[in-house]
């Protein structure tokens, strides 16, 4: 069984080289050769990593003459914080439910208190 390669923001940042590339590109767009100069690995290897970043939707590559320009598209990164937010939704609902429960409890207490 082959699993299709995940192509999302988490996949994008799961590799240290890719993370460094995002760091570089977050400052300014660069052409592929300039990016490759920052690394000790081969240009084709960098090219491959950038291709993955493009598939993950974090980088846009535009061909300008013989140069390939890479530009970061970082809005997808908010998915990282959104992922954490799903827990917040869960607990917020729990708290509301507890709040209702406690208010009922308090009302009952007051009523039974009056009976005495």
């Amino acid at each position: 069984m082959t699993v299709a390669a995940r192509r999302d923001v988490f996949q994008a940042i799961s590799d240290p080289t890719r993370r460094q590339i995002i760091s570089l590109l977050s400052q300014q767009p660069m052409n592929l050769n300039t990016i490759a100069e920052n690394f000790d690995i081969s240009r084709p290897a960098i090219s491959q990593q950038i291709k993955i970043l493009e598939e993950c939707g974090l980088v846009i590559i535009t061909q300008q003459g013989r140069e390939r320009y890479c530009e970061a598209r970082l809005d997808k990164l908010s998915e990282v914080s959104n992922w954490v937010d799903q827990y917040k939704v869960f607990w917020t609902n729990q708290f509301k439910s507890l709040d209702n429960f406690l208010q009922d409890l308090q009302t009952k207490k007051k009523k039974s208190g009056r009976k005495k």
Binding site: F10, I13, S14, D15, P16, R19, I22, S23, S26, L74, D75, L77, S78, V80, S81, W83, V84, Y87, K88, F90, W91, T92, N93, Q94, F95, S97, L98, D99, N100, F101, L102, Q103, L105, Q106
Partner: protein, 163 residues
């Protein structure tokens, strides 16, 4: 009162909520099994505890039934139960016998952490109780992405800047 640096909360779930009732009452709702079952299940769900021992090193095994998704078993250990100020427990996805389950096999989101730690502190002011809840989900995020929290923070900061 421990003041953690803000950095620690940026990539963890961190929530506060204020209740209009005294602290001991809120604390009891979390630690009295009879009360806990009455409110702890999410909306439209029911919760049943197969095991529930709310004290330090005590274990629990719960089943939340969701009409839409069916049963969801969860287990954990109470790490701290300090009346009326602090509770800490782990949450682990499990099966009905209390064996740890891969969240994906349980039909959950593949990103659901295998284990998280939940810490809750209770403080009272003028008869009102404020709960602070912290849940470590970033550890999972870190293992999932290989990124250290500091890096995740940088990402979040970047994401903020471009909003």
């Amino acid at each position: 009162m421990e003041e953690r640096n803000k950095a620690a909360s940026d990539h963890e779930v961190y929530l506060t909520y204020t209740f209009s009732t005294p602290r001991e009452m809120v604390f009891k709702a979390w630690t009295d099994p009879k009360q806990l079952v009455k409110w702890y299940a999410p909306h439209n769900c029911t919760i049943v505890y197969k095991k529930l021992d709310i004290r330090k090193r005590g274990e629990y095994l719960s089943c939340i039934n969701n009409p839409q998704y069916g049963d969801c078993w969860c287990k954990g250990v109470y790490k701290e139960v300090i009346f009326p100020e602090r509770i800490e427990f782990t949450m682990v996805v499990s099966d009905k016998d209390g064996n740890t389950v891969d969240p994906v096999k349980a039909g959950m989101d593949p990103d659901w952490p295998m284990e998280t730690l939940v810490s809750i502190t209770f403080s009272e002011e003028n008869g009102k109780t404020t709960i602070k809840l912290r849940q470590t989900v970033s550890q999972k995020l870190a293992t999932k992405t290989g990124a250290y929290p500091s890096w995740i923070q940088m990402l979040e900061r970047l994401a903020e800047e471009i909003k």
